[in-house]
Amino acid sequence: MKEEISFTRRKFLQLSAKLALGLAGILGLGGLVRYFSHEPAGQTPSSYDLGLAAEFPTNGKLIRLDIPAIIYKTKDGFQAYSLVCTHLGCTVEEDGENFSCPCHGSQFNQDGSVLKGPATKPLSGLKVEISEDGKLILRNGGLGK
């Protein structure tokens, strides 16, 4: 009889200890998840000065690898595309009239549309503005955007 009582008490203690430690562990894990949940500051959108808009030749183009972007001037105005491949982010290279990606061979048309996979999305267009003092300003959301 006595044996049985001490066995029950032992079982109870064992169970409570495991429960308390388990709960502490889950809470600790929750804390750890919160600790790692900090979101680093987003990249501030950057703008690039491309020089005077009036000096840009009609039907001309400008490749800026620091952005990286290509800027065209057509009769309809300015157009700019990001040169970041929409597949996995390498910088695409000029390949005749088109662009091809050196990493996995995606190819894009001059207007950014996909010619050949594995990329599925077209090159993203970028915003070009002309400032008050006539300068051409390109705005970029940051790497890969």
Binding site: L13, L27, G31, Y35, F36, H38
Partner: protein, 568 residues
């Protein structure tokens, strides 16, 4: 049964203690009421800054300073000196660049206004050159008002920074900007502050305590040994002599040192995920960890306080070993290992301190490394090896980082393991030899674990309380030609050397003396008589009296010098 009863008393007691703390911390923020401040905003023709709410937040104070010093040029909305703002001026002063105004022939005590006027401080495209609030605040302090430059106090500069963030809808009124958190705050993006860490701390400590108490209760039950031996069993022999586990003899210091070391390893590993070891990023990343990352402040404080408590515990341990003559052979080699650990821990503390890379460490780093140069012969080479160049810079930071998280930590882990291994190898903690014809009283493993758990709970609660109540020191990021100079003192564990340095030759007093001191302490069991075997396990044995006198004199001198430096 009695001890179980005690446990049930202890749990509510700890709960009440921690709960009280929680309530206390909540009272400060709850007291704001929409009462008007007595300092009413001065009346202008145009709408002035928003009326100050009582109690004013930092940005409200900034609005007052702005109204007094900045508004004339930067506009009442932070729009800058544009035509619209100038149209509100008296007709005679609308041309700010005109002769006799702020142009040529500016009156005495006036100044020349730059061609560009005063830039806008709010609105799209404003403040493009600043990304962190720290840069903005430092710029304001150093370069504003335009004339006379440098007339702002440090506090006013931060109040203005908060107000400018407010004008841009980026200010968080719950935050008080300062040099120690503004590197984590962005100018162009509102930063989300983490919620309170207290609920997490409370719940976690509560469950840990309950779990630990249950385990210690559980271990006092005798259980059949069914499991195979493991590492845990290696550290805890099936039975040990009762005399070796008495707190009144061991003070629990060695065990606690291991506990603090483990906390340091865990919190240090977590800190590594956020720390950026570059001169520009280090202080900023610590501010982000401290001010923004959830539980980041807690983890940093735990790391800091375990490091401080480890130094203290280690000294208590050393005093205990000397005053009980426990370093007598066969334990004298382990005493030397202990002295090596002491040096390693001080070096770890120093390298960790330098990793803050903020104004608080500037002079300690300069003095500490220049001290190496004074060593005859090898000094210059050692200096360059330590700082990785001819003057402190990025390579210095990365070397201190490598030593702190790798080199010194590896050495300390290895020697700690050796130290613990030698304790058992040398026959356990020094204890009285068995009396002739009497059996030594022994306690089972479970009882030893129970004692360890109690010591760990007490140390853990102290650690958490210190971490919650007293934050680890932090200062503003290191800036060139520091305008706001930080602490010029050594870290507290080197204050004694700072004192001896004032006595003369830096090599003699700053390097040779501390080195000789440590070596002398380490050699105590080799050069002075030791406690006799029948005196073991007792305080103040007569056998090593001389060793006790020499050792305690040295430690007391170090203690007094530290106190002297601290009071200075």
């Amino acid at each position: 049964m009695r001890s179980l009863f005690r446990t049930f008393i202890a749990i509510p007691a700890v709960l009440i203690l921690l709960g009280g703390l929680f309530l206390f911390s909540g009272t400060v923020s709850a007291s704001s009421s929409p009462e008007q401040n007595l300092l009413t905003t001065p009346v202008t023709e145009r709408p002035g800054p928003v009326p100050t709410i009582y109690p004013p937040v930092q940005a409200d104070n900034g609005a007052q300073v702005y109204w007094g010093m900045c508004q004339d040029c930067h506009g009442d909305q932070g729009q800058g000196l544009d035509a619209e703002w100038r149209s509100t001026f008296a007709p005679a002063s609308q041309d700010c660049w005109g002769s006799g105004c702020h142009g040529e022939d500016a009156p005495e005590n006036s100044f020349l206004l730059p061609e560009a006027g005063a830039p806008a401080l709010a609105g799209p495209g404003a403040l493009p050159q600043f990304s962190m609030a720290f840069e903005l605040g430092t710029y304001i302090y150093e370069s504003m008002p335009y004339s006379p430059t440098g007339s702002l106090t440090n506090d006013q500069a931060w109040e203005l920074t908060a107000y400018i963030l407010h004008l841009n809808d980026k200010n968080n009124p719950e935050l008080t900007l300062s040099g120690t958190n503004s590197a984590a705050i962005l100018v162009h993006q509102e930063v989300k502050l983490p919620g309170s860490e207290l609920p997490g701390i409370l719940i976690l400590s509560l469950f840990l305590i309950i779990g630990a108490v249950y385990i210690s209760q559980l271990s006092s039950q005798t259980a059949p040994e069914t499991t195979r031996g493991n590492f845990y069993h290696h550290l805890h022999p099936a039975t040990i002599p009762e005399a070796q586990s008495k707190f009144s003899f061991t003070l629990g210091a060695g065990g606690l040192a291991i506990f603090f070391s483990l906390v340091l390893l865990i919190t240090g590993a977590l800190e590594m995920y956020y720390y950026v070891p570059t001169p520009d990023g280090a202080a900023e990343s610590i501010q982000i960890l401290t001010s923004i990352v959830p539980y980041g402040n807690l983890i940093r404080n735990l790391h800091y306080w375990s490091a401080q408590l480890l130094v203290i515990t280690m000294m208590v341990h050393l005093v205990r070993i000397i005053l009980t003559g426990a370093y007598a052979p066969p334990r004298r080699f382990n005493f030397v290992l202990g002295m090596i650990l002491l040096v390693l821990i001080l070096l770890l503390d120093f390298t960790g301190y330098v990793l803050r890379w903020d104004e608080g460490i500037r002079w300690a780093l300069v003095v500490g490394t220049n001290l190496l140069k004074t060593i005859p012969g090898i000094g210059e080479g050692l200096y360059q090896f330590v700082i990785g160049g001819v003057e402190p810079g990025a390579p210095t930071l990365i070397r201190f980082y490598a030593w702190h998280i790798f080199g010194l930590t590896l050495a300390m882990t290895g020697i700690t393991a050796w130290h613990i291994f030698r304790v058992r190898r040398d026959g356990g903690i020094s204890a009285p030899p068995p009396e002739r014809g009497e059996k030594t009283k022994r306690i089972p493993r479970s009882k030893l674990v129970g004692k360890e758990v109690i010591a760990m709970i007490i140390a853990g609660v102290v650690l958490i309380l210190l971490s919650v109540l007293i934050p680890a020191p932090i200062d503003q990021p290191l800036i060139e030609n520091g305008a706001l100079v930080g602490d010029s003192g050594a870290p507290w564990f080197f204050l004694w050397i700072q004192e001896t340095l004032q006595w003369g030759d830096p090599f003699l007093w700053g390097i040779a003396l501390p080195l000789i001191t440590v070596i002398l302490l380490g050699l105590l069991p080799y050069i002075l008589p030791n406690a006799k075997k029948e005196e073991w396990g007792r305080w103040l044995p007569s056998g090593n009296r001389l060793g006790q006198i020499v050792g305690i004199t040295i430690i007391a001198l170090i203690f007094m010098l530290t106190l002297l430096g601290w009071l200075r």
